[in-house]
Symmetry: C2
């Protein structure tokens, strides 16, 4: 039987395990008989119904020939990067929700998977439950992608929605997001735009076939957006949203990429994306304009993406990584000076 | 070299051929070296740059071991059904835009493909460029689908948009749609809801794993929608849209399926879907609510879907049909009497 290992038993890991057992019939109908054999974490979970699967020694997974797929749901770079490389080198597919790792080391890990006949899949890294990774990778094969615009961070979108609809201040809205569990105690990565920058890098790398790094992205957070800015936006028939944009002119190698608050006009599709929802808009040569909308985070939506990748990896005979990301230098990025006022999406 | 045959050189066929050569580098990077070897049509095209590929004898395709994939873009049942069966029996994958054939004979053709180690793919049959077929088939593996709501016919959505925004009568809006090439000379299949009924059957069959037939769908067209209805909708903060709905209660085998004009409230995601655009909203157990939006028809958007399937079929070693559709009887359908007034989407 081809079995599964879960790396990390936090919120996402718990969601993946619970959702796996809730949907086991469905998953086995798709992917054949399977089970979760190990859950790796540094902690013990004596109250968990899955406590017997919990292990602390990574080498058990690495050296178990029954393990076909590992779901890396730990986050961060260490030890996730080391574990991922060791698994891929053994021919064990890795699926992940770890946007930091994919954004920083995607090219290397995809190539490593391909070289070892297994897969490195990351549907859960960007857009939560929205199947945008598979769409860019597989479902737009015969398209040149011109542009991607996305609301990629649910926390900031929730805060901006509350500031608009309930006239909250930034700090009150942030506090509410923390109370509801949407924002971390240290919300810097969300608020500063760093989380969105990682995600637009993943989408841009997939769309353009070059590995675009987060530190190259012009990134402006939402912490300086005021109630007055919101009122001004409303007075001109717009909303303020934190939008990530990546574009490439046809016949040019240069890429424009940014994360910053935008004025989004009310007739623009992204203007109706509220609360913790995410959306990704894609402009492509044949398909034209497409939009994908759904829950950008949360235990079950993320589990949906993780388990979709697990099913894909279990049924694949070889690597599912269709496209490698070429290495490239920062001079591929079009540099722009900060402009007066917010950019507008009409 | 694994080569491609195009069956039918009308609007969709021409779009597929032109888009193939425009994107040939991209397609070959994905799917390996390939080419279009034959274009089957009853007509000659002496002015076409592809005239040398045009043939009239189907058996050339069927008996050519170089052909790995055929794109059936003829529409209708005859001879499309016969051709499709003969190709699949030879192990040649078939991709299609033919919603009528998929809605009526999908279960049989999917099983036939599976039995012969090839694929029957139909991304282009529903939702134009929106990759909704692959999403329901592959990207929501670990979800129970509860409900699908869609605006699946661009022609009727265009007509209703013009009636709303420019206060046109139904017949003036229909005439404009015909003048712009959005509606056929005989627009019955669009206006009556029959086209939407076929498409919601395809989506429901994929989502619920049972082959739902178009004649079981309660289908009401848009020809009785008046300017007064539009004005009434506007007065209560809603729009009138032709919406297809399919749903299944958890733990029930019964399916509700309908195509009819709905009052769609202005805060509902489907209310912003205008003109010839389509959208599909999916409610699923883990992913929650997802929406997919894009061009529902047209030469290039349809070509995008056709060529995505061609790439998938060219790279597959076996059948890509993950799920068969079980045969079922009409008593699976929940019957409802027509109600007073339009159903509401809030």
């Amino acid at each position: 039987m081809r079995k599964i290992a879960i790396l990390g038993f936090g919120t996402v890991g718990t969601g993946a395990v619970e959702s796996f057992y809730y949907h086991k019939d469905l998953i086995e109908k798709r992917a054949g008989e399977t089970d979760i054999k190990y859950i790796l974490d540094i902690r013990d979970f004596p109250e968990s119904p899955y406590k017997d699967k919990v292990i602390h020694d990574f080498s058990l997974i690495e050296n178990d020939p029954e393990i076909a797929v590992a779901a890396e749901l730990m986050g961060g770079t260490n030890p996730a990067l080391d574990f991922t490389k060791r698994l891929l080198k053994k021919g064990i597919s890795v699926v992940t929700s770890n946007k930091e790792l994919v954004a920083r080391h995607g090219a290397e890990l995809i190539s490593l998977a391909k070289a070892n006949g297994c897969s490195y899949l990351f549907e859960a890294s960007t857009g939560g439950a929205i199947p945008i990774i598979r769409t860019l990778g597989d479902s737009l094969s015969a398209n040149v992608i011109y542009k991607i615009q996305g609301i990629l961070n649910g926390t900031t979108n929730f805060i901006l929605t509350k500031m608009l609809e309930e006239q909250m201040t930034f700090s009150d809205a942030l506090k509410l997001a923390q109370d509801l569990g949407y924002a971390e105690k240290d919300p810097t990565d969300d608020i500063s735009g760093a989380d969105s920058a990682r995600k637009i890098c993943i989408l841009a790398s997939l769309a353009f076939g070059k590995h675009i790094k987060p530190e190259w992205v012009r990134t402006v957070g939402i912490d300086r957006v005021t109630k007055e800015d919101m009122a001004y936006a409303e007075s001109i028939g717009a909303k303020i949203k934190l939008v990530a944009v990546a574009s490439k002119e046809p016949d040019s190698e240069k890429i424009f990429i940014t994360v910053e608050p935008h004025l989004v006009c009310n007739n623009h599709q992204l203007s109706v994306v509220s609360d913790v929802f995410n959306a990704v808009m894609v402009d492509a040569s044949s398909a034209g304009r497409l939009m994908f909308y759904g829950r950008g985070a949360g235990k079950l939506p993320t589990a949906s993406a993780v388990l979709t990748d697990v099913c894909a990896a279990l049924t694949a005979d070889g690597s599912l990584n269709n496209d490698v990301w070429e290495d490239c230098e920062e001079d591929i990025i079009i540099k722009t000076d900060g402009q007066e006022g917010l950019p507008i999406l009409e």
